[in-house]
């Protein structure tokens, strides 16, 4: 009886500590490496020049995982986007990341332009067209303090000791930079960043222009599928990758 009790306690301690470990991200960096090309093209041409410049750059297929249901009331969702193709290049003091993934539904709209004038001075207001649609989106997460050999933050939006920055692109609403130090702490910084997106033949291709990051920096990716009502932590995510 005693031994059984001890065993239960020991295994719970182990389970708990491994959970805390995973939560706090105290694990040493073991993510997979991500090749980074050094491009002679300018950052601008990589961002806006279309596919030819990117075709020269090595691609890595990164597996995506579906977050488990976060809330009791969540509708179940299947793994419709199993992977994202990542190309990375340094150019002109910037790090450019191209994410491409297959998504048969393009969940994006052009929102009506809101005039500069006060709504009460206008006959017509811009109206909500739909309240139940969600849009395709993607994000690149990096540690706020990066560098070779540093501990990777928790994958769940960082942790108290290891805050993260998230470069978020939304097919309808554009880009924004966010900061977080754990689940539920995401905060908009009010800043945006340059990005370029195309949707062709059932495939999204989004180029993020990030500040240059040193080799050894961990980066993680996320994809939201609007038609699966993705938003918040309801999404696809990769494990940490390490820039070469």
């Amino acid at each position: 009886m005693r031994i059984r009790h001890l065993l239960i306690i020991a295994s719970s301690v182990l389970l708990l500590s491994s959970m805390i470990w995973a939560q706090a991200g105290a694990k040493p960096v073991t993510g997979q490496s991500l090749p980074v090309a050094v491009s002679s093209a300018s950052a601008d041409s990589l961002l806006n020049g279309g596919t030819p410049a990117w075709n020269q750059i090595a691609v890595k297929r990164v597996a995506l995982n579906r977050t488990p249901p976060l809330y009791d009331t969540d509708e179940p969702a299947t793994l419709e986007i199993p992977s994202v193709d990542v190309r990375t290049a340094r150019a002109g003091g910037k790090l450019l990341v191209q994410l491409s993934w297959r998504d048969p539904t393009r969940d994006a709209i052009a929102l009506a332009e809101v005039p500069d004038t006060l709504p009460e001075t206008r006959f017509r207001k811009v109206q909500t067209e739909a309240d139940d649609r969600f849009f395709d989106a993607a994000a690149v997460m990096i540690p706020s303090t990066s560098g070779a050999g540093t501990t990777a933050p928790s994958l769940q939006m960082g942790d108290a000791e290891h805050p993260v920055e998230i470069y978020y692109w939304n097919a309808t609403r554009g880009t924004m930079v966010m900061q977080a130090h754990g689940r539920g702490t995401t905060r908009r910084t009010g800043q945006s960043f340059p990005a370029n997106s195309t949707y062709q033949n059932g495939q999204w291709s989004v180029i993020f222009e990030l500040p240059d990051l040193p080799a050894g920096t961990t980066v993680a990716f996320a994809v939201w599928n609007g038609s699966q009502k993705d938003r918040d932590g309801r999404k696809y995510f990769s494990v940490w990758q390490v820039l070469e």
Partner: protein, 333 residues
């Protein structure tokens, strides 16, 4: 639980369905971009579809301590907000008639006065609705952003527009479907119980404008307030759908209509104009006790006595109906 709790009581026997409250609210709070379809205050015909339609049947709220699932209502359930071509008619000299666009196909109180049938007779009444500023708000629990909070000083439930990311879990969780998504701002909005007015000592716009004088406002925990008296002393006001588990702080005096025939001296329970089952559906089984209490009060006055409860329900002046205590709700810094 908040330190104090503002509450509202609405006497359904006095509601005319004139929508003055709806317009008072709309002009004050939802006359902005993206808010055309939003009615923080709406008045719907009961029995009826409600706004958004079938909101009372699609889910949300609590059961055994867990949030209950619900789909998001669609714009077809709300009805797309329409605009009129006033510019062309009034300023551009076009002769075309003033017409709405897009073509109205549904909207708030679309099924106005249709009601239901009780044996061979039609019946209906109006149900004005605002956010219930619940004691246990399902919306607050559902928000992963912690953007929704219940004000400590007065129990009013509000959405922090800076924290809201427009995820809409709150809309699903609210069993009364009283939160609306603004696609222009990408954030959700709801009734704020006119807290900026209350803080200045002014009552809610919907209550101030009500020609039927059917709204009573005050702190539930203030013994001097009419809501305290109606809900806790006379015990004649009930929340809507108590089984949803959120403990609303908006209460209703159920329709205390006369019997269908030979109304004097008969109980409506003998010959109800509004089927009792329907009132139980809306207000729970306690509605029977409330009707018994209301009938007792009525009998008191019919026998020449005086009923404090009925005198209060008449609500002759604003001092009787509203007990706003700005000094209680000022935030202590």
């Amino acid at each position: 639980m908040s330190r104090h709790q503002y509450a509202m009581v609405m006497d359904l026997n006095k509601c005319l369905g004139c929508q003055t409250c709806t317009i008072a609210c709309k002009k004050l709070w939802t006359d902005r971009d993206g808010t055309g379809y939003m009615y923080w205050n709406n008045v719907e015909t009961r029995p009826g579809l409600g706004y958004p339609r079938q909101w009372d049947r699609i889910g949300g709220g609590w059961k055994d301590g867990s949030l209950q699932p619900s789909p998001l209502p669609t714009m077809d359930d709300y009805g797309h907000a329409w605009e009129y071509n006033y510019e062309q008619r009034l300023y551009e000299g076009k002769k075309q008639p003033v017409m709405p666009s897009p073509e109205p196909k549904s909207g708030a109180n679309w099924d106005e006065d249709v009601g239901g049938m009780n044996e061979d007779e039609n019946y209906f009444f109006y149900l004005p609705r605002i956010c219930n500023h619940c004691t246990y708000p399902a919306c607050l629990e559902a928000c992963p952003r912690k953007a929704i909070y219940k004000r400590e000083e007065d129990g009013i439930v509000v959405i922090d527009q800076d924290r809201c990311q427009g995820y809409r879990y709150c809309i699903k969780a609210c069993p009364y479907k009283k939160i609306y998504f603004n696609e222009v701002t990408g954030k959700s909005e709801k009734c704020i119980f006119c807290y900026p007015r209350l803080e200045k000592g002014e009552v809610n716009a919907c209550a101030a404008q009500c020609p039927g004088r059917l709204r009573f406002v005050g702190l539930l925990d203030d013994p001097e307030s009419p809501v305290h008296k109606l809900v806790l002393v006379h015990k004649i006001a009930l929340p809507l759908f108590p089984e949803k588990g959120t403990e609303p702080n908006v209460f209703y005096i159920p329709p205390f209509n006369p019997p269908k025939r030979e109304n004097y001296g008969r109980s409506i329970q003998d010959d109800p104009r509004v089927p009792l089952d329907y009132l139980i559906y809306l207000f729970g089984p306690e509605v029977k006790d409330v009707i018994v209490r209301l009938e007792a009060e009525l009998r008191k006055t019919q026998e020449g006595g005086r009923s404090e409860a009925l005198q209060l329900l008449i609500g002759r002046d604003a001092e009787t109906r509203f007990h706003v205590r700005p000094q209680l709700v000022q935030i202590q810094l």
